[in-house]
């Protein structure tokens, strides 16, 4: 199997190198274009295909790279190779500056913001005529030369573009299978869930955006040297749409960009040759054909050619079986849910560390909720909620439907800020902190309607290891952090074992509901949290499964984990909870031991509808 992969790779490499000799000279031009567009579209695949962020302004970054490189080299006499890099850096910087504000938008708002950015950039290319040459274009483009070999002949320039395309594809293939790539794919499925396992959604989006902009910039710079003439119309909205078309045709696969670029470029060529030239309608029919192909493709296969490419080169989102290697940190295999020994321990949160082991009551609760309130317009969903959650304790939060339990969960876990009141974690005020900060401090949650990532069961749990493994986007691109990945996989397997899930390679959304809930619990445990908030974990479980869940919860408590449990199954709650808080109409109705709460007349009234009136 491995040998075959090597043979295929070598043959493919040989073919790519030999292509200019195998094809008629005319095709060298096309090959260069395919490779350049392919590299740029690969960045767009990452952005659109994997991260779900649509850019209709990629042509702007492409243009910034092109203008940056040739203006520096042509007008300021900077070394052409250095200019190539500077142009790329300029595009990346533009990506950062543009991405910083607009990535707060999502969906089609984001797409329209990038569209606007693309149009503004084109206008600037035209209007800043003293630098860019304006609408007439920029012609003074020097030649790229190394050791006396100059890259002018397309058959030679091809190798430059080939290196670019191969590097782009390799970077994407490496990135999406890394820890950071998993985060990219995770946040696409559910930003809330990604934040709940401590992923810094905003930062990851920005990094991905910058990376795509840098690839566009490098491609643009290469294009400019290749054509030796650039003008604003090369980088207008049409260019952005072309690039997006390539990405959509290719689909979410590392090869998608290059394949999409090849399809579009060859299609252009065919259309130009088929339509009689001279009538001036070649470009016209091309545009109409683009439109028709875009629409047709989206209707026929919204995923583009990804299903085909995925069969040719399957993306196995798993590390090799653990070889017993140890993480670089030398931490050794960590035990999931080891009661707060993970890196998630709040630095100043002394009470959390040794308390459960000592057996005495901790001086201070792990989680303190004080006078918490949250309103939606006129609706006061939570009002004056206050309780303590200690390490090594299961606290049940119950109440009739609409009592505000899930809202309380959302506020405590940082999904949205409270209207009033405070939340303290390990003694630190964390009121209004976002979910990813809560997760990094050791507090995580599950979701009432399960929010799993669209990836395998094992990967979902590996995503839970995000906070205590390392490796950002750049490490992912370079293929670093394999040891961390192996460790994450081992911990994920162990966490799955604890909850009793064995379907490691099944896609999470296709699991039955009950197992999805267990998977969410496993994902939370993989975080090595100090506290978990479980939102109806037993809903959809069968009787035997519920009993196993109860056993698991007790075991977790005994290890020192703090568990806040929202559950409608009274048998389960009364059985496992040490204390119970009852909510009704957003307010606290009662608090105490299970048997105490069970006999509270107010609670009985709330549940059975025997109103005092």
């Amino acid at each position: 199997m491995r040998a075959r992969t090597v043979v295929v790779a070598v043959a493919l490499a040989a073919l790519l190198v030999a292509l200019p000799w195998l094809l008629p000279p005319f095709y060298a031009n096309l090959l260069c274009f395919i490779a350049i567009y392919g590299g740029v579209a690969t960045g767009l695949i990452l952005l659109t295909g994997y991260a779900g962020l649509v850019s209709l302004g990629q042509g702007a970054f492409y243009g910034i790279g092109a203008y940056g490189a040739v203006v520096l080299a042509g007008a300021y006499g900077v070394d052409p190779w250095l200019s190539l890099l500077l142009g790329t850096a300029l595009a990346a910087a533009a990506g950062y500056l543009v991405g910083l504000p607009i990535l707060r938008l999502s969906g089609h708002y984001l797409a329209l913001a990038t569209l606007a950015w693309g149009i503004v950039a084109t206008i600037l290319f035209t209007q800043l005529a003293s630098i860019t040459g304006g609408a007439n274009g920029f012609t003074n483009v020097p030649v790229l030369r190394v050791f006396g070999i100059d890259f002018v002949d397309p058959a030679r320039f091809y190798y430059l573009t080939l290196v670019f395309a191969v590097l782009a594809v390799a970077a994407l293939a490496s990135l999406i299978r890394s820890r950071a790539g998993r985060a990219v794919r995770a946040m696409r499925s559910s930003e809330a869930a990604a934040a709940s396992v401590g992923m810094e959604v905003g930062r990851i989006k920005l990094q991905v955006f910058v990376l795509a902009a840098a690839l566009a910039g490098l491609g643009g710079a290469l294009f400019a040297y290749f054509i030796a003439f650039i003008s604003p119309s090369t980088f207008d909205l049409g260019a952005s749409i072309r690039l997006l078309t390539m990405a959509m045709i290719g689909g979410a696969h590392p090869l998608g960009g290059v394949v999409g670029a090849a399809v579009v470029t060859l299609l252009d060529d065919v259309l130009q040759n088929v339509i009689p030239n001279g009538s001036g309608q070649a470009g016209l029919v091309q545009v109409i054909a683009y439109g028709a192909i875009l629409v047709g493709l989206m209707l026929a296969s919204p995923r583009g050619l990804e299903p085909v490419l995925g069969r040719l080169w399957p993306m196995r989102f798993r590390t090799a079986p653990a070889r017993g290697g140890r993480g670089p940190g030398g931490r050794g295999p960590g035990v999931p849910a080891s009661g707060g020994r993970g890196p998630g321990v709040p630095a100043s949160g002394a009470p959390a560390s040794g308390a459960p082991a000592s057996g005495t009551a901790p001086a201070r609760a792990l989680l303190e909720v004080r006078g918490l309130g949250r309103n939606f317009g006129g609706l006061q969903a939570v009002d004056g909620l206050g309780f303590d959650l200690r390490a090594g304790e299961i606290l049940g939060l119950i109440g009739p439907n609409g009592a505000g339990k899930t809202t309380a969960f959302n506020v405590i876990s940082g999904l949205f800020p409270p209207s009033e009141g405070r939340v303290l974690l390990g003694g630190d005020d964390v009121t209004g902190k976002q979910a990813q900060h809560m997760a990094r401090r050791g507090l995580t949650r599950t979701f009432q309607n399960t929010a799993l990532f669209d990836m395998s069961v094992l990967e979902n749990v590996m995503a839970g290891c995000h906070v205590h493994t390392r490796g950002g986007v750049w490490a992912g691109v370079l293929g670093l952090g394999r040891a961390d990945e192996a460790r994450a996989e081992r911990e994920a397997r162990r966490a799955l074992e604890r909850v009793g899930l064995t379907e490691l390679d099944v896609r999470a959304p296709s699991l039955p509901v009950g197992k999805q809930r267990l998977l969410e619990v496993a994902r939370s445990l993989a975080m090595r949290p100090l506290a978990v908030l479980l939102d109806e974990p037993a809903a959809g479980l069968r009787y035997a499964e519920k009993r196993e869940l109860a056993t698991l919860l007790r075991a977790l408590r005994d290890e020192g984990l703090a568990v806040l449990l929202v559950e409608h199954d009274m048998d389960l709650v009364m059985n496992v909870a040490d204390r119970i808080v009852v909510m009704n109409y957003g307010q606290m109705l009662a608090e105490g031991a299970p048997e105490q709460v069970r006999q509270d007349p107010d609670v009985i009234a709330a549940y059975l509808g025997l109103d005092a009136a």
Binding site: L112, I123, L244, M248, G291
Partner: protein, 337 residues
């Protein structure tokens, strides 16, 4: 800047703004009912303007041709779905005959009012057909997919515009050539007419949504697709009607603007985007908001173009980003308080 200049810019801005407002209305209508952001909205303007020109001055009548083609494709799709194989020839032959017939009768020199009417109806029909052929089959797909689909429609329609009418620019006769002097500034009757027509469309939409059962059904489908289906309202039909009305309004906008600015095959995208900016300022769900937003964009553009001629366009487009950001912040705060 003198008061006279300022007033002149204000009137120019309001006239253009009224067109953005009409586009904004169309965009909001489609967005509310189908959750599609229609990148190709401006192309309906182009089709409307150029078709009306063609029907009255003897130029090409592309909108009619397109309506015939789209209708034939629609019928073909319907027959295929019902597996009526033996009837498949009907739309093909019928379409060809119609096309040939229109070609044989033309070129047309209809009176302007009739030309406008026919063009508006034809474009509304094209809008409905495009919904049926390209939007409805993708129902349930992500918003990105629709964005790409309507981008494809924009490309295709603009290309067809160039194919039908070429790169030239066309004018359309004004309703009334004169001007009136008001407060030291001359206002053309056309400008007044554009503004009046915009508010008339807004009023008609209001009547439609508030006073007719079908309008209410459309609103219901916009609010909750499943709920609407449960009470017997078809979201597909609602989407179809939304596209038809929206395309019709946009075509009308094209006819209104053609005497003021020239009509060209590539006039659509810019108008559509500005209409979108206006609609977003107005909240992207309210019709009066879209109108006010469109007018605001028009005025802003006029003043920006006067003060910084080269960057006027850039400023208007660059505004999209902060406006979108403000809206997001506003909606988040709205949820919080």
């Amino acid at each position: 800047m003198t008061t006279g200049t300022a007033l002149f810019l204000l009137v120019t801005g309001l006239t253009n703004g009224a067109i953005y407002a009409l586009l904004g209305l169309g965009l909001v209508l489609i967005y509310n009912v189908t959750r599609v952001i229609n990148i190709a909205q401006g192309e309906f303007v182009m089709l409307g303007a150029l078709t009306a020109v063609g029907l009255t001055t003897g130029e090409a009548t592309g909108g009619i041709t397109l309506a015939i083609l789209a209708g034939a494709a629609w019928a073909l799709l319907a027959l295929l779905r019902r597996r009526r194989w033996s009837l498949l020839w009907l739309p093909v032959v019928g379409g060809a005959l119609l096309w040939w017939g229109v070609d044989a009768i033309g070129p047309f020199h209809l009176p302007p009012v009739l030309g406008v009417l026919v063009a508006t109806v034809a474009v509304a029909f094209v809008g409905a057909a495009l919904y049926r052929l390209t939007i409805q089959p993708a129902a349930g797909a992500g918003e990105v997919v629709f964005l790409v689909i309507t981008t494809g429609l924009y490309l295709g329609l603009q290309g067809l515009g160039l194919l039908f009418w070429g790169p030239g620019s066309f004018s359309f006769p004004s309703v009334h050539g004169g001007q009136i002097a008001a407060g030291g500034v001359r206002v053309s009757y056309q400008s007044l007419f554009v503004l009046v027509a915009t508010f008339a469309v807004l009023a008609l939409l209001w009547l439609f949504f508030e006073r007719t059962l079908f309008g209410k059904a459309l609103r219901a489908a916009a609010m909750n697709r499943l709920g609407a289906r449960l009470v017997g309202i078809s979201p597909e039909r609602a989407g179809l009607v939304a596209f038809a009305i929206s395309a019709g309004i946009s075509a009308l906008a094209g006819v209104l603007i053609a005497p003021v600015t020239y009509a060209t095959y590539d006039m659509g995208l810019g108008l559509g985007l500005k209409g979108f900016v206006g609609a977003v300022i107005g909240g992207l769900s309210g019709y009066p908001g879209a109108v006010l937003g469109g007018l605001a964009i028009g005025v802003l553009e006029a003043f920006a173009a006067y003060t910084t001629s080269a960057y006027g366009e850039a400023i208007v487009y660059a505004l999209i980003i902060p406006i979108l950001l403000l809206r997001v912040v506003a909606t988040r705060r709205g949820a919080a308080t």
